[in-house]
């Protein structure tokens, strides 16, 4: 391989940029089929109720309506909407339609009609009688003796303890935390509370389902997981996998919300029932009420340390609200502990969690996947510990963070007795991140120190805060990706990928890898991805896996194709294939003989010895190297109004290798924007009955451009030996940061600790004793 890179590492333009900026229809909804029907869902007004009677006949008779169905019309097959590898570690506690509703917004019935208006009107003609049940509207009540049981049906399975509303339970210990606490000179132990957050994808969930000319079910759908979706829909409908064809067009944002099969099963049932194409699209209100959210948690974080600054105990205890269904229940909260806890060397680490059902909105996968919650607690507590020991939070972190060569002890404990393997840190650019990030923010010059305000200070006070972060690159031991490449008649290549570009730019990054290996410019790579009939298997876009896992499969496929090209070239040039070099769209020998790829492909297709150039690569690994971040933020607190204004946010991120630096920066900026909202403004407000009160962009506050601080992104490259061109992941890790960094900065500015997200002005004034 040529050592000097030509395509990889450049900020190449996205392969799908032109069609996006010209508005060419590429999304699920930019598609119309003759005779297409529109589906609308009737949802539950009650947080917890049994449907004692439901009659859809009046709705079915409404003009334009082709189907109106309730739980009477679908088979009772428990499944999970969590798009994960089989067998999904999430409980099978959902039904396409059920006789019980478990939150305000739960599916009751669905109508397909010739117009959306007719479908909407028909919903009003469905007669439903409910037996209203007492609900669980606070996760702290879920496990109380006598609490209503949310999953009392016998068919559901996979819950840890359904009787006590516990969807999943985790306990893992390294060493003995109790001893570690005893050995400590200083112990910090605090409670942290984090809220529901919505993904707010620009494109809501949408599926168009129809039966093709062979009677197979086609799902054109906005998904992160085409292959899991195919398997799961087949399962939920009890039809063969081969009869389902999933097409993922361009997706307008996923962030985990589309790592769920949410609209597909209903749309499929309606298409099969009506024999017509059916479109089911969530409204924005639906996204805010019945889609998925980040899991709310109550975390108790305890850190013990000796006077010399060494950590003796790290203990995280979590109570998670999964809502009425346990989708991603175990794994998201698993990450809450397993991603943050290895960050600082500690001989005694304990992580325990209960993930409980409530009759509140459904929690699910969300970029960061449990880690933002955990890092908020850990990085707040580490900051407190540093100050309690009288040391600088930057120096304390420098002294204690995990080193290159270390084994992640939490993964080692979790791996015991399973086929998994502990993670070893083969790359770790955190020291460089700390160095460059602290310099960019002006750490030593600008720290205020959390001292009491002097009389002449205020009302605007500035402070600096920081945190460190890590994540993974794919799910260790639970990833598989494949790519194939064929050479076309004009010496271009078609790269076929099972992976799902959901706006992340992965189609571009992966094409860059292929172009690099094949010695062609990026335009010569045509990407075809996300169609289960035409491309190879892939687990999908989640867990920051695509560049690292699918990237390796592309690398292998491209190398496979290159070997074949070189072998043909060797015959054409009468040279030893081993010694040939591929670059600039030609194959050359050291002696100066050369043949173009165009000549080679013509020779292959039409010459004497006919052959097809077609490369194949499969990749699976037990590795999941963490990207690292050192994040720094400067904030300004108005001590009279309680407002927190982030001024400058620096993300120094070690991603091994920036395959496309522009895309990497985009991922970081997107992640911090989303989590600045999590830190400061975003929350789902619920009525006492469990109804969402702010299901609009007017009332659910994501930050807009004018609210943003200055962002500085520093890409650090400590090459990861197991990654393609040294790369590891970039997509998620930064989302874990802003909340703890801001909380620490607020402390630096005005000496208060905010442990309850979002950090709204009234909480600031309360903590300052002014309210």
């Amino acid at each position: 391989m040529a050592t000097e890179l030509r395509v990889v590492g450049t900020p190449a333009r996205k392969v799908d940029a032109a069609k996006l900026v010209t508005g060419y229809g590429t999304f699920t909804d930019d598609f119309f089929l003759p005779g297409m029907l529109h589906a609308k869902i009737l949802t539950s007004p009650h947080a917890h109720a049994r449907i004692t009677r439901i009659d859809t006949s009046r709705a079915a008779d409404h003009p334009g309506v082709h189907a109106a169905i309730s739980h009477h019309d679908v088979a009772r097959i428990p499944y999970t909407s969590a798009g994960q590898s089989w067998p999904e570690p999430s409980p099978y506690d959902q039904y396409i339609l059920d006789s019980k509703v478990r939150f305000v917004g739960d599916y009751v019935a669905v109508v397909a009609a010739e117009t959306p208006e007719a479908a909407e009107d028909a919903l009003g003609l469905i007669d439903v009688e409910y037996e209203v049940l007492p609900p669980v509207l606070d996760m702290h009540d879920s496990m109380r003796p006598g609490a209503p049981v949310i999953h009392d049906e016998p068919e559901s399975h996979g819950m840890y303890d359904a009787e006590r509303n516990v969807a999943a339970h985790i306990e893992v210990e390294v060493g003995a935390v109790a001893d570690g606490v005893t050995e400590a000179d200083t112990v910090v132990s605090e409670d942290y509370f984090v809220q529901y957050q919505q993904h707010t994808c620009l494109e809501p969930h949408v599926t168009i389902a129809w039966l093709d000319e062979d009677g197979r079910l086609v799902l054109r759908t906005s998904t992160q997981i085409p292959y899991h979706c195919r398997r799961m829909v087949a399962f939920a409908l009890d039809i063969p996998v081969r009869d389902v064809h999933v097409i993922k067009p361009r997706v307008g944002g996923g962030f985990g919300n589309k790592q769920e099969v949410v609209t597909e099963p209903l749309a499929a049932v309606l298409a099969i029932k009506t024999r017509r194409p059916v479109k089911l699209e969530y409204t924005r209100r639906d996204e805010f009420t019945i889609a998925r959210m980040r899991h709310p948690q109550h975390l108790t974080m305890t850190v013990g340390a000796r006077r010399d600054g060494s950590i003796t105990a790290t203990h995280m205890k979590v109570l998670t609200n999964t809502g009425p269904y346990g989708t991603h229940a175990l794994t998201v909260t698993g990450n809450t502990g397993s991603k943050p806890l290895p960050l600082y060397r500690s001989p005694n680490i304990r992580f325990e969690a209960d993930i409980v059902y409530t009759n509140l909105p459904i929690s699910g996968a969300f970029r960061g996947y449990g880690a933002p919650q955990g890092f908020f607690a850990l990085e707040s507590a580490i900051d407190e510990m540093a100050l309690a020991l009288g040391s600088d939070p930057l120096e304390f972190r420098r002294a204690n963070h995990i080193r290159k060569g270390d084994t992640d002890p939490v993964s080692a404990a979790l791996a015991e007795g399973s086929a998994k393997k502990p993670r070893v840190m083969r790359s770790n650019g955190l020291p460089e991140c700390l160095e460059r990030g602290s310099e960019a923010i002006g750490w030593t010059a600008k720290r205020r120190g959390g001292m009491p305000l002097r009389p002449n200070e205020g009302p605007l006070v500035r402070g600096l805060g920081m945190c460190c972060l890590m994540q993974g690159s794919g799910v260790a031991g639970d990833e598989l990706a494949a790519a194939s490449i064929k050479m076309n008649e004009d010496a271009s290549f078609t790269l076929m990928l099972g992976s799902a570009d959901i706006g992340t730019g992965s189609d571009t990054t992966l094409a860059q890898i292929a172009a690099e290996v094949l010695g062609v410019p990026l335009e010569k790579i045509l990407v075809r991805s996300g169609d289960t009939d035409h491309v190879t298997f892939d687990y999908g876009a989640y867990a920051s896996s695509t560049a690292y896992i699918t990237g390796q499969s592309v690398l292998k496929a491209a190398e496979d194709a290159r070997r074949q090209i070189v072998s043909v070239a060797g015959q054409m040039l009468q040279e030893d294939a081993e010694a040939l070099l591929v670059a600039d769209e030609r194959v050359s020998s050291s002696s100066g003989k050369t043949v173009t790829l165009q000549e080679i492909v013509m020779e292959c297709l039409y010459g004497e010895e006919k052959t097809l150039i077609s490369g194949r690569g499969t990749h699976a690994t037990k590795e999941s190297p963490p990207p690292f971040v050192a994040m720094f933020v400067e904030v300004e607190v108005d001590i009279e109004m309680g407002t927190i204004r982030p001024i400058h946010l620096v993300t120094a991120i070690d991603i091994g290798k920036a395959l496309n630096p522009a895309i990497c920066e985009g991922q970081v900026e997107g992640a911090v924007t989303q989590s600045l909202g999590y830190a400061l403004t975003e929350e789902i407000v619920l009525s006492p009955e469990g109804r969402v009160l702010n299901p609009t962009f007017m009332d659910y506050k994501i930050l807009c451009a004018a609210d943003m601080p200055k962002l500085t992104t520093i890409l650090v490259e400590d090459p990861e030996p197991t990654g393609p061109f040294g790369a590891k992941s970039v997509a998620e890790v930064a989302i874990n940061g802003p909340a703890p960094a801001i909380a620490n900065a607020v402390h630096d500015a005005v000496g208060i600790r905010l442990r309850h997200l979002p950090m709204t002005p009234d909480k600031v004034l309360e903590a300052l004793g002014r309210l």
Binding site: T283, M641, G642, T643, N694, K701, C704, P761, L771
Partner: protein, 291 residues
């Protein structure tokens, strides 16, 4: 969602428009910039039978500044915002209007529409109350003027009758020696205010001769903090006075808790903002600086 069906008229003369309103009464809604009405229609929170689009009416897109400020019904908020003469005669308007939504909203939304819509947290109603503004209302049978104090009746409810059009809003000239200030806290840039305040003080011979303290987002309409105003009048502007007046203002309102802020927080904001606003307004009154 899309609006419920309605009949759409776009009259080309004021008489024609008033005639339509006389016929349809409260079945009709006037469409100006559409920045409040269209969202209400799309969310089906409003479902009028008739829409009377006034955008084709002639001669209503004026802003004049020769004797106070006059703003026609079709003058966009952006037009007012960019008008340098407005900054001279009514700097409070210029200061506050930048807080109305986002630039895109202000390019279409009208100032008069903001007053007619009467959102309790909106900026323009607050400012017109503080500056003793007036609304000029027309109907087929005549016209009348209503002071801002009488115009805002309740949440999104005004003194406008269904058959009336507000053709203009006006402000009297500000007396010499005046200074003003506008402050607001919103959760995000461009949001409606959690709370906002507008103050105007006129200083003569070292004493406050006239004071207006208006509060927004802390009641069903914008409010005058009369006890605060009384506390200020005839006093020398001192820091202690501002502290007391601000405290009084915070008790001149009955804020409620909603999803954007608690009642206690809003009251505290009023106190802080009135205090800061008075300081700024007095400096501006003394220096003759804009505002």
């Amino acid at each position: 969602m899309k609006p419920a069906p309605f009949t759409y008229y776009d009259p080309h003369t004021l008489d024609e428009a008033l005639g339509l309103l006389a016929v349809h009464g409260d079945a009709a809604k006037i469409l100006a910039g559409g920045q409040s009405l269209v969202p209400l229609l799309n969310m089906r929170l409003a479902a009028p039978d008739v829409i009377v689009d006034i955008n084709r009416l002639p001669d209503l897109d004026f802003v004049t500044t020769d004797n106070g400020l006059r703003v026609g019904a079709l003058a966009r908020q952006a037009m007012v915002e960019r008008d340098a003469a407005v900054r001279d005669v009514a700097p409070l308007v210029t200061e506050a209007i930048a807080w109305v939504g986002h630039r895109q909203i202000r390019n279409r939304g009208t100032l008069v529409g903001s007053l007619a819509h009467a959102d309790p947290a909106a900026e323009m109603p607050l400012v017109f109350l503080a500056l003793d503004g007036e609304l000029h209302l027309r109907r087929t049978s005549g016209s009348r003027r209503v002071s801002a104090g009488d115009f805002f009746v309740h949440i999104m409810t005004t003194a406008l009758d269904p058959e009336e059009i507000a053709t203009e809003a006006s402000l009297p000239p500000v007396p010499p020696g005046s200074g003003s200030a506008f402050l607001e806290v919103a959760r995000r840039h461009g949001d409606f205010a959690v709370a906002a305040i507008a103050v105007v003080v006129t200083i003569e011979a070292g004493r406050i001769r006239r004071a207006r303290v208006a509060l927004g987002g802390v009641g069903p309409t914008p409010l005058r903090a009369t006890r605060a105003e009384e506390r200020l009048v005839d006093e020398e502007p001192t820091n202690e006075l501002f502290v007391e007046a601000a405290l009084a203002a915070s008790h001149d309102c009955e804020p409620v808790t909603d999803i954007h802020g608690t009642a206690e927080y809003r009251r505290e904001l009023v106190r802080t903002m009135v205090y800061r606003g008075l300081g700024r307004a007095v400096v501006r009154a003394r220096t003759g600086a804009a505002g």
